[in-house]
């Protein structure tokens, strides 16, 4: 039952940590927000990221990291009360509105986001972007999906594979 010994975390001001993006930009955020990342949580529990140290994130650029942190800061309070059983319907609706708005972005940003969320193991963000990508795929034929997501034109082998698959599962292409 012992509270984690966060040292400077329990004396009023929230504990802050510093994250360093691949292009060397420093981001200072509340430890609670950064801890939405399972990867970072361990380091932070170990007392890392405080003071002048900072945690380097060599796989995440600053544009992506700032977007990731925007999500974490918004979701940290709800995550702190364990999925927010006492959150009001208004809170939940607000979070949902935020989420919908949040993924209403360029495909390239979505891609960087899901890669970062995966690297940093931020479950909620991974699911959110996965859901968005799934919505982009729904109701489309394989060729439409390829075009939507900017795949290169299929090679003859790929085309043959697609045709074979479509023949096998003809029912799904009615």
């Amino acid at each position: 039952m012992a509270a984690p010994e966060s040292g400077d975390g329990n004396n009023g001001a929230a504990r802050m940590v510093t994250l360093i993006s691949s292009d060397n930009t420093r981001f200072e955020v509340e430890a609670a927000a950064a801890s939405l990342s399972q990867t970072l949580q361990l380091t932070i529990l170990d007392g890392g990221g405080g003071g002048g140290d900072g945690i380097p994130l060599p796989n995440v650029d600053s544009a992506t990291l700032s977007k990731v942190l925007e999500y974490c800061i918004k979701h940290a309070p709800a995550a702190a009360n364990g999925g927010a059983p006492n959150a009001t319907a208004v809170d939940r609706a607000e979070l949902e509105r935020f989420d919908n708005e949040f993924v209403n972005i360029d495909q390239s940003v979505l891609y960087s986001l899901i890669m970062a969320a995966h690297n940093l193991e931020i479950e909620g963000l991974q699911s959110l972007v996965a859901k968005k990508v799934a919505d982009m795929i729904k109701g489309k034929s394989p060729m439409e999906i390829r075009r939507t997501l900017g795949f290169p034109d299929p090679t003859p082998e790929e085309q043959a594979e697609m045709n074979a698959h479509m023949l096998e599962y003809g029912w799904a292409y009615e």
Partner: protein, 168 residues
């Protein structure tokens, strides 16, 4: 970009798709196909609540007795599945489990059938049940079944069942 998505992220995306979308996504390219395969192999598709699909057969002039209808509630769209023999229209549905359905055909023989992939596994013949023996006709074909109703009642004469009656 998206064509290089790592498999574990792809499976995350696929896990939220309904079956018809999943089937189409699987044919986008070979890495998507293998993500789809491992999704099923790992049983991850069960994590997400699939909206139920209605599987049915119907008298139909166009599609015949070997097709079943699949109605996707989320897409509000009917699909027609071509299924292996024996004709699905003449089988009884015993029940579904893990995407497979158990059917009993007109000979009362049982099959496991995956309506999505069309895969089918014949279960051991009903005549391998100790209490059931086949009655052959003059051509050596199974004509009816003898069946002892209860385990230890072999002193009583067996009941005789028509080929399709045993499944009832």
């Amino acid at each position: 970009m998206w064509s290089e998505l790592p498999e574990d992220i792809l499976t995350l995306i696929f896990a939220t798709l309904e079956v018809p979308d999943l089937v189409r996504a699987a044919s986008v390219c070979s890495s998507w196909h293998s993500a789809d395969t491992s999704l099923f192999d790992l049983g991850l598709w069960k994590q997400q609540q699939q909206a139920p699909c209605l599987l049915y057969t119907a008298e139909s002039s166009s599609s015949g007795d070997s097709t079943a209808g699949l109605h996707s509630i989320t897409e509000k769209k009917p699909y027609t599945l071509s299924l292996p023999d024996p004709p699905i229209r003449n089988r009884h549905f015993i029940g579904p489990a893990y995407g497979w359905i158990i059917t009993a055909d007109e000979l009362s023989e049982l099959h496991l059938l995956n309506p999505i992939t069309g895969a089918q596994i014949a279960l051991p013949s009903v005549t391998t049940i100790k209490q059931v023996t086949p009655i052959l006709d003059e051509n050596g074909l199974v004509n009816r079944y003898h069946s002892w109703a209860a385990m230890n009642s072999e002193s009583k004469p067996p009941d005789i069942y028509g080929l399709s009656e045993l499944r009832d």
